[in-house]
Symmetry: C2
Subunit: 175 residues, 2 copies
């Protein structure tokens, strides 16, 4: 499952890698736009190394309440601070997913641009929940990448948060 | 104004330039997903040469009921069949728009990927009405392109057609 916000033109970070635009919509009550409800229904989080390092850089307590698996070919261990928080995984993505399923982690929250693209290339994503921030960034890190062939999804539902931010849930259409 | 359908990953044509995926959603009543209501509120259509040539290739009667202006640097005249249907325009986009406004064409329907991108680069688009077909094409002709700086829009409204196709109207946010 993917739960992510993009710009109108499909970027998840701006040209400088910045995320400030994500917070450009006034949100005085700090509503979570469905994030906690989403997190409550997943079993574990799978993210790439870059997303992990971004999260490590946030000046806040560890934000996850579910097991976190970090996909990485390059790093072999994590700093002690994170040793009890994340587990490193690597190798063939289909096998990584199978192994997580066998450990009881059925519903995986897949996060980070490269990781989401890799999962989509293997057709391993069943739910896409996309929140659109109404700005054209005109460049940056795109959410979606190249695919060998098209992948059909189906519309499930849509909401509008704060009267300003549409969110649409799509599900993989399998025949 | 822009009224266009894209794939989930923001393409307006697939890798082979094909548009078949646009018609992948069963639409037995042939509903127009807001197209006629949109057309009724515009004064004229501005499209690029490529879109014009695509429309010329359709095996159907001329589909437009409003004046059509074709932007082109390269072509100097159109085939006789189209002489009473379209007018060629060229030059600086801001001046083209000013001149169309002076002729009474206030609300312009801007169509075609390159043309839309050029208008956005000049910040000449006030309304974006985007219909999303729930398929990841994984490549093709993107709707949006590079911009010198971000452009803020605002959510106006959203609809879902056929219980399957979300459409969102965004308006340029000018301060």
């Amino acid at each position: 499952m993917v739960f992510i916000a993009t710009s109108l033109d499909g970027y998840i970070a701006d040209k400088e890698g910045g995320l400030e635009w994500l917070f450009s919509i006034p949100n005085p009550q700090q509503i979570d736009m469905g994030y906690n409800a989403f997190i409550n229904q997943i079993d574990a989080i799978v993210m790439g190394r870059k997303t992990f390092e971004t999260v490590c850089g946030f000046e806040c307590p560890w934000p996850y309440t579910k097991p976190v698996f970090v996909l990485s070919k390059s790093i072999k261990s994590v700093a002690d601070t994170y040793a009890d928080k994340v587990e490193l995984v690597s190798g063939n993505l289909n096998e990584v997913v199978k192994s997580l399923h066998q450990k009881g982690h059925q519903r995986l929250y897949v996060d980070g641009g490269s990781t989401i693209q890799s999962f989509l290339q293997e057709d391993l994503i069943d739910d896409l929940i996309l929140t659109t921030i109404p700005v054209l960034l005109g460049g940056g890190s795109p959410l979606f990448g190249d695919l060998a062939k098209p992948i059909d999804f189906e519309f499930v539902s849509s909401k509008v948060y704060l009267d300003k931010v549409p969110q649409v849930h799509y599900k993989r259409k399998r025949v």
